[in-house]
Amino acid sequence: MSEYLPTILPLVWAAILVLGVFIYVLLDGFDLGIGILFPFAPNHDCRDKMMNSVAPYWDGNETWLVLGGGGLLAAFPMAYAIFLPALYLPVILMLAGLILRGVAFEFRYKADTSRWMWDAAFAGGSTLAALIQGAAVGAFIQGFDVKDGAYAGGAFDWLTPFVLVTAVALAAGYVLLACGWLIMKSDGELRDWAYKVGGYAIFAVAAFIVVFSIWTPLAHEDIAARWFHPGNLVMLSPVPVLTALAVVGVWYALKQRWTYLPFLLSILIFMLCYTGLAVSLFPFIIPPEVTIWDAAAAPESQLFMLYGAIPLVPIIVGYTIYSYYSMWHVKDHSAYH
């Protein structure tokens, strides 16, 4: 076995997982966002349309979450073993939320008198899952109390003001993605409404980005040092500049009532924030101490999985793209119920 493998393999797996989680965030992001918006839709007909617009995709979207969980266990078992006990209650609440909203897709159309129950399960489950995912991002940034390779903190250590704000921030981001999605996939009243809500969402997202750009470096000296180091400042400056441009772009696209740009530029915002996060935290997988090399599985395990992942991940990505492509022009899913 090459002597470089223990250095390279964790990087490769970190890249695969970062990509997998990003795909999950985008895909389930808009579909959870639709669940958050669900109770506020103008009317019943709009709600049906909203649900139908994501109905064909939600299953496939959530497969990426399974890949994330399984992949983290396999590639970075120590990180998996710290992250999940540290976020025990929120993770299980998130899973409960995802279960409730998942079955709501299926049972809502079969219910007659109890439809309100599945509506509530869909909206409640989606909102809960989105908030907790946001909280998890915040908890990840603030780091975990680790001793001897295991979580050493309490059940509610994660619960800080910072985390409450990241929870709402990610939910706002998901709402923005959902608006972009609805603009592409609907018409008439629902589309008008999506433009309007999207306008609020982009303001909220912009505000949160500003808040975090100030709060995070203030709270974490090492992150501040990384961004404001003279050598890095120039190299990293495109990230905030492009983010600002993308925010303005979304706002303008919404104002001009463009069809595809609000969604595409929202994705760009997510991508840039995600990059910013990666720059802030790399190479830590459990900040502030555990790096991807500390947490990595044995090289022979990472290599064994890589043999499978190299052919299979592109196939899965290809299939996902194909499934979106092939259903793109089907706007009316009313035949479903």
Binding site: P56, D59, Y80, G308
Partner: protein, 460 residues
């Protein structure tokens, strides 16, 4: 404030969620294969009844598959939430096996499920058959990896320990560890039997109520022609699995037989209340000598008793003992139903003998009972080890307070109870509605909802 034992609570929570989850794969592994058989028969014979039956059951399959998916997502996180020390120490080995399950089985199933459920009138027949086959074999591949991981934890092989962490030494030995072939054969057979009794029971119900009689005959007839030989085969496979367990996990066998003393010519205990404190059985009813014969296939074969191990190194026999008897009892009932059914069929009375039909209706869930009982035997029987003779369950637990685990047990019971009730209600509705003689042509939009497993069941 009383003390909440985190280990016990974590075990209860894991047992509850994994028991709930296994119900769905147990059913869909067999059902997808039966759907493949039905579709092949339809293509071979051109008889519409096979197609109608396949379409009807594919709706029930869809509901069950969807519930298996949502309860499966939970499992992929629960290793970390409940057993972080196991995840850390065993991640090098368990992780890749579980990841391969996601990459090889999830992909196949997710990729072809849509075509299988919605593509009937929209893709060429050969493509549809391929999709059905992909889903059927996808479930088998999934079972392969999951059972390999479980078997490895029961009979570890192909590993080495470095600095307290397990490392893979030989992937072939590790994947095909000593108990894996037996467990895999036993579980897949159990899944097929589970499906056969659901299908046969519902077919019998139609015949009893004089509804969908031709379809009911297909269901009962095909189910019987499977379990009449598969149930006895399962007894043989179980016996082989038992011999393998006796070799690798003798304490488990001692527990499931409630044998305290090592000896030759040991009895077969039919009934007893094992008492772990006193290390003896109360109210024992036993057949002398038969225990050695069954377990070792020799009249005077030596069988180790639980006292061979220190109390902290052996399982409490209570659950394995009773669960084993429930499992074997179910198996014997299945064999009897197969024999009686075969005799009735040869006499041409299978579809009209009401007491037999009633018995089949009552026994529809018998496979689920046997599967759950069997898993309780093997999982409780391997205690106190989570990785046999390497890592104790009590040492594998996450650093999570008992109160958190208790809270989540309540959450899972409420949520699963709720969705299980709804899913069961909906599947019962599909059964009552029965197969449709002239299936309506699905329109274009339906096809495009192909990524949704449960959606197939909802189109009026």
């Amino acid at each position: 404030m009383f003390d909440l034992d985190p280990v016990l609570l974590a075990r209860i929570q894991f047992a509850f969620t994994v028991s709930f989850h296994i119900l769905f794969p147990s059913f869909t592994i067999g059902l997808s294969m039966w759907l493949l058989v039905l579709e092949t028969m339809w293509l071979r014979t051109g008889k519409a009844i096979y197609l109608e039956t396949a379409k009807h059951w594919s709706k029930i399959f869809a509901v069950s598959f969807g519930m298996g998916v949502v309860s499966g997502i939970v499992m992929s996180y629960e290793f970390g939430t409940n057993w972080s020390v196991l995840s850390h120490a065993g991640g090098n080995i368990i992780g890749p096996l579980l990841s391969y399950e996601v990459l090889t089985a999830f992909f196949l199933e997710a990729g072809f499920l849509g075509i299988m459920l919605f593509g009937w009138n929209h893709v060429p027949k050969g493509v549809h058959l391929t999709a059905t086959a992909a889903v059927a074999f996808g479930t088998l591949i999934s079972a392969f990896w999951i059972l390999s991981a479980n078997s490895w934890m029961q009979t570890p092989a192909g590993y080495e320990v470095k600095d307290g962490v397990l490392h893979a030494a030989d992937w072939g030995e590790l994947i095909f560890n000593p108990s894996f072939p037996y467990r895999f054969a036993h579980m897949v057979t159990a899944a097929y039997l589970t499906t056969a009794f659901c299908v046969g029971g519902i077919g019998a119900w139609y015949l009893l109520h004089n509804r969908n009689v031709p379809h009911g005959k297909v269901m009962l007839g095909m189910a019987l022609s499977l379990f009449v030989w598969l149930a006895p085969t399962q007894l043989l496979l179980g016996d082989m699995h038992g011999l393998n367990t006796l070799e690798h996990q003798p304490a488990k066998v001692a527990a499931l037989e409630a044998h305290w003393e090592t000896g030759r010519n040991v009895p077969l205990i039919l009934f007893a209340i094992p008492d772990a404190e006193e290390e003896k059985n109360n109210f024992e009813v036993a057949i002398p000598g038969l225990g050695s014969l069954i377990l070792t296939h020799e009249w005077d074969g030596e069988v180790k008793g639980l006292k061979e191990w220190a109390p902290e190194d052996r399982p409490n026999p209570m659950i394995p003992f009773f669960a084993f008897r429930i499992m074997v009892g179910c198996g014997l009932i299945m064999i009897a139903l197969g024999l009686v059914g075969a005799v009735l069929w040869l006499r041409g009375k299978l579809f009209t003998t009401r007491w037999y039909l009633r018995a089949m209706v009552i026994c529809w869930p018998i496979g689920f009972v046997a599967v759950l009982a069997g898993w309780f035997v093997t999982e409780v029987g391997r205690q106190p080890w989570v990785v046999y003779n390497i890592l104790r369950t009590a040492d594998a637990i996450s650093p999570v307070p008992g109160g958190s685990i208790l809270t989540t047990i309540i959450i899972f019971v409420v949520v699963y109870g709720f969705i299980f009730g709804a899913g069961l209600y909906y599947m019962a509705k599909l059964v009552r509605r029965g197969p449709e003689a002239t299936p309506p042509e699905p329109d274009e939009d339906e096809v495009d909802l192909s990524r949704r497993p449960l959606a197939a069941s909802g189109n009026p």
